[in-house]
Amino acid sequence: MKNLKKILALALSLLMVLPILAGCSAKNTPRADEPLGKDLTNEQKFAEHVTLTWCFPDARGAGDFTEWDRIVAAINEITEREINATINIEVIPLGEYTEKMSLKYAANERWDVAFCGTQWNPYSNAVSQKVLEPLTKEYLETYMPETMDTMNAKYFDALTIGGGLYGIPLQQIYVRQNGIRFEVDWFEELNVDWETIEATIDPNTPLESLEVFFEYLLMNNYNECFFGADDKLMENTSSFMGFDNLISTNFPGAIRVSDGTCTVINQYETEEFKYIASLMKKWHDAGYFSDAALNGGQANSYYELEYGESRHPVSLEPVVKPGGDAMASMKAQYGITIKTIPIGNAVLTTSSVAQTAMVVSRNAEYPGRALAFIELLNTNEELLNLICYGQEGVDWTWEDEENKVMNLDDSAYPGNEPFFVGNTFLSYYVDDSMIGCWEETKQINENAELSPLYGFTFDASSVRSQMAAINANLDAHLEPVLCGMGNGTVDDAIAELNQYLYDNGLQVILDEMQRQVNEWLASKQ
């Protein structure tokens, strides 16, 4: 009986493992014989009609739109005309995207084109799981000629891992430069114009310069919370402090961009962080924002308390971009004007480029056609705007056709963010204040300073358990410090935070980071 039980237990365990092994097995779709060659015509390349499955991260609820089928039909009209392909759009709500894609990878499920990034469906994880098609020069030149011709080759370096390219970066603002965001209307009410604001901000100590405004608001009986403090402080000040983070802005492990030696540091032990944390403590104690910063991560502004709308006269921004969709949004929602002053240096980092990319499945039957579809999203203005804003004349009209400004006032179609779909620079402007901002953004990308670690991607596989231990309670230890509410003095609060990090294995992670950085630097020489 005992032996029988043992055999049964073994058999059941094997039965349990079997599906995993089956998932890993190479049950690949047969690869079609696609023509390759720079000089092929579209007729030669796209002779056969194919169907591609596109995993579409739905950020705004486009899939819930009652006339979604109309949008899909219009999309397919373009793709069938241009690349002889029908696109089967698998809508996945953004909040579920990463998890669903992970299971698709595990189950070897069929898909062709998908969005990858740093935050959603992480690119480096997908590469390490070997589920992405390596994009060879031959394929790229055949099926993405226009993108290859127009896109600066340096952007592909950010997505090159172990010598292979597995994704195409989606064009948008790549540069990371933090900024201070002002809601100009507030200040105009108090007779402070934009020129005065600009002149008051000292480029060397921009954050301290804000205290003049805070005191002025206090004098004018705005009682509390006019600074938008939140748990995203590291993201909003990381490039200002001069860091390039190896994992994320909140996770310890970074290099100083100005430091030529590429020494990996724990940013929470630096003078730069101490400076920011001290400032937050000072501002919190002075009453510039309230303890509510810890509730839901953001302080309710005075305006929010008064009118039920989330607004702050002053807050920090992670990325300053010309025109900016946030600015247009604020104008559209509340009719208010926001303006931003950049702080710190504009830096191009690996993660800032790899944050939004399109990838092709290793299981794709027609990888060339999948690339051709990505090319279309990168080059076809009509297609991109159809997906993001709907059909001209039905979902939107021209406000100013010459300058490509659309009017979305009566639109019911939720659409999607262009940076989840394709080339942002092809999207039409949603507000006239944005005119010309795409050209300006391209220039900023081109002229940005390169981080010394540009092109390096940290492989976290060997330190996963330490990372999980730190992540388990990182926010709970970090947020009080970021919101100026740590125990005792700032030094004590920072020491407490670092104690937590080292107790959970930070040193092992930092050593591994340094080892990989050194290896990468050596391989470049």
Binding site: M1, L4, K5, L8, A9, L12, S13, M16, V17, P19, I20, A22, G23, K27, D58, A59, R60, G61, G63, D64, W68, E90, V91, I92, P93, L94, G95, E96, E99, K100, L103, A106, A107, N108, E109, N300, E304, L305, E306, Y307, G308, E309, S310, D325, A326, A328, S329, A332, Q333, Y334, Y389, L408, D409, S411, P414, G415, E417, V430
Partner: protein
């Protein structure tokens, strides 16, 4: 004076002091459990402005139904999701009760020689699960159950705990019942359906309510196994509604209409709507539930 003392003495004689403290203790505990539900209901009736200005309160000053209005704005999909949920819950409950009872009856019979092995197979699943990836691979790649409502019904029906509870109950019934029924010429099916099942309502009631609640609250399976727009259960629909609303609020080119949706009160309204059917169903099964759990606890 004497008369007064006598009255007090009589009063304390009438009430059992220990009992009084026990009652007070449980009243306090019940209020502590009830309080979050009352707050949930009251916050769902608050306007966003009142919520921000006054904070959370048990009695809203100006109750408003705007959060419920926002949830029920699109009635058709919510009604469809509700129907799907009900259908899945009822099917899961019926199937769970029937399959587990049949399994439990077989392994409860001392004359069934393979019962130890079958029990072992069952217990094995209590300690080792397949995990998300393996289950997904089996259900999608092998059984091809993606976008099929059966995926919400079938995998959850058999449960080791449920079988143990019913098996313990069957074992508690006198075996003479089975033997005398046999002598009277009853078949196995007649014994099971006409004698054992009607006698096991407490155990079956417990399994039924656990299955119904589990199925009602299930959010992960519909999310993972259904493509967008194919089928949605109520809990998933409401969860997605909240997600989208947050995204709407933060999204770029929003044109105004949804910006005023009260997010905190809407989240609470969603919680109330999800909980309501359970609140209605639970009292019917409660007496079985308590009894049935006790059976499982003592005799498992």
């Amino acid at each position: 004076m004497n008369n007064k003392n006598l009255k007090i003495k009589r009063f304390f004689k009438k009430i059992d002091v220990v009992n009084l403290f026990i009652h007070l203790f449980f009243i306090v505990i019940s209020l502590a459990i009830l309080y979050p539900f009352i707050s949930m209901l009251s916050v769902s009736l608050l306007s966003e402005k009142e919520l921000l200005q006054e904070g959370y309160s048990v009695w809203p000053k100006n109750p408003t139904g705007e959060a419920y209005e926002a949830v029920f704005k699109n009635f058709q999909p919510i009604a469809k999701a509700l129907l799907t949920s009900l259908m899945v819950c009822v099917a899961t409950t019926l199937l769970t009760v029937m399959l587990n009872a049949m399994y439990a009856y077989a392994v409860s019979r001392p004359t069934f020689s393979a019962r130890r092995i079958i029990n072992f197979v069952l217990l094995f699943t209590m300690f080792f699960g397949g995990g998300a990836s393996a289950s997904y691979i089996v259900n999608v790649s092998w059984l091809n159950l993606k976008n099929n409502l059966l995926i919400l019904i079938v995998p959850g029906t058999m449960g080791a705990m449920s079988v143990i509870i019913i098996r313990s109950f069957f074992q508690g019934l006198p075996y003479g019942l089975v033997e005398s029924a046999k002598l009277d010429g009853a078949s196995e099916y007649q014994i099971f359906f006409q004698i054992m099942l009607p006698l096991s309502t407490p155990a079956l009631g417990t399994i039924a309510i656990s299955a119904f609640i589990g199925s009602w609250n299930s959010y992960y399976a519909p999310m993972m196994y259904f493509d967008y727009g194919k089928a949605t259960t109520l809990s998933l629909y409401l969860q997605r509604l909240l997600q989208h609303m947050e995204q709407y609020k933060n999204s770029a080119s929003l044109t105004g209409t949804l910006a005023d949706v009260p997010s905190a009160s809407m989240a609470m309204a969603v919680a109330c709507i999800t909980v309501l059917p359970m609140v209605l169903v639970f009292p019917w099964f409660q007496k079985y539930f308590v009894k049935g759990m006790a059976i499982g606890a003592v005799k498992a």
